[in-house]
């Protein structure tokens, strides 16, 4: 009996507490830098596309919402001919970002993507590509990947065998 009265009193005192509600359209939500929202494709510092069309994001996507087609330009550099994300399927898990070897695909702190027409939720490459380097400024995949770090040559480490010539038949 006493506990009933006590809980009634406690609930009554909640009247004078601070409200927890965020009055959304007027009052914006604080989104943290790592918040997983709208997906973008970033560019390298020279303004070129970072995406090399490796399909790893599409393979990692658990709901198969990413669709792309890789092609090559006249210099033999790969880029996606089209890159399509169906945001009505996307669950914003961020696996595509983790899978991306070139930091091209990134999730941004933005969730205001409401549309009246469901088809408008399918974003094409023009909608996804932004004019920014995103979370990794100064990173250019082609300048970093496959380059010697200048520490030691191949096969000179402590427990390392010299590299094998894979084109030779000699053991």
């Amino acid at each position: 009996m006493f506990s009933l009265l006590r809980s009634i009193g406690l609930i009554f005192l909640h009247m004078f507490r601070k409200r927890e509600t965020i009055q959304y359209p007027e009052e914006k939500v604080v989104l943290h830098p790592r918040w997983r929202g709208r997906i973008v494709l970033t560019r390298d510092p020279d303004g070129g596309e970072r995406c090399v069309g490796c399909y790893l994001c599409a393979a990692a996507c658990p709901v198969d919402c990413i669709s792309l087609q890789a092609t090559e330009d006249e210099n033999g550099r790969r880029y996606p001919a089209f890159f399509r994300i169906n945001f009505s399927r996307c669950i914003f898990c961020g696996y595509c970002e983790e899978a991306c070897p070139t930091y091209a695909i990134q999730l941004t702190p933005d969730f205001e993507m409401g549309e009246y027409n469901r088809q408008n939720l399918v974003y094409e490459k023009e909608d996804l590509l932004i004019d920014s380097q995103g979370k990794y400024p100064g990173y250019n995949y082609y300048k970093v990947a496959g380059l010697a770090a200048g520490v030691k040559g191949k096969g000179e480490g402590a427990n390392e065998e010299p590299p094998v010539d894979i084109r030779s038949l000699i053991p």
């Binding site: 009634i8 609930i11 909640h14 009247m15 601070k18 409200r19 509600t21 009055q23």
Partner: protein, 317 residues
Amino acid sequence: MNEILKYTLMIVIILFTLTTIAAWLIWLERRMLAVWQDRYGPNRAGPFGLFIVVADTIKLFFKEDWIPPFAEKTVFVFAPAIVAASVLLSFVVVPFAPDILVADLDIGLLFFLAMSSLGVYSIVLGGWASNNKYSLLGALRGASQMISYEVFMGLSLMGVVMLSGSFRLMDIVMAQKDFWFVVTQPVAFVLFLTAGIAETHRLPFDIPEAESELVAGFHSEYSGMKFGMFFIGEYLGIILISAMVVTIFFGGWLGPVLPPVVWFTLKTFVFIIFFILLRASLPRPRYDQLMEYGWKIILPIALLNLLVTGAFTLLKN
């Protein structure tokens, strides 16, 4: 002729006011619940979100008014009307002010008890006619709840009747000129309030409805305005029980300075808000627990209260 016109006008005004207040109680309840849960509640449509009621009503009217093919059609349609009608009939005897009263019956209190008890028929019939296991369970619980609270509800009021010497609500109010009956009959007040909550099937005694156990209990199969009738009946029931608590234990319209109607409304709203506070704070007992409390604890207390009051009245004479 003039008399008839006067009463007709009074009935129309009271009916209109009550149904309007009952509708806006939806807003009040949602706002107050939000206040006690550190939220704001509906505050978008119109000033303070008041127009949410209009939107809700329009929505209810445009919902598909579906009668399940397996239901007993006549009873199914008839049941929601009983709850609203029986509660509205009880208001006939409620004295809102010395001159605002539809009928000053000699047996006003008994009339109120009889009419408010009829409301349980809508639950039992509605649940039964739905021909659905959850609805039937709800109806069953409604009946079991009714037999446990109805007894001590009437008994708790008999002490007041003893002190005032009349079943007329007008006399009961006038007998509280010096001090309210809540001072002389505090036990009866607590018992009647408990029974009143059970009577209106409000939380914590919303056992026949029990959303978390029985989908929506007796009105699982109801939609559209038929569901709306159950809803309006429930809110009218809150107003009725609050008004009766005020009339019987808190001096009705009596009060200084302000006009009687204002006093009555103020006191009634305090209890309506208390009803909502109870909903915000208390969990629901099992229905066997309610029956056990009703028969083994509260009924003896009510009888004891009656005995003590009778003894005092005898000694005083």
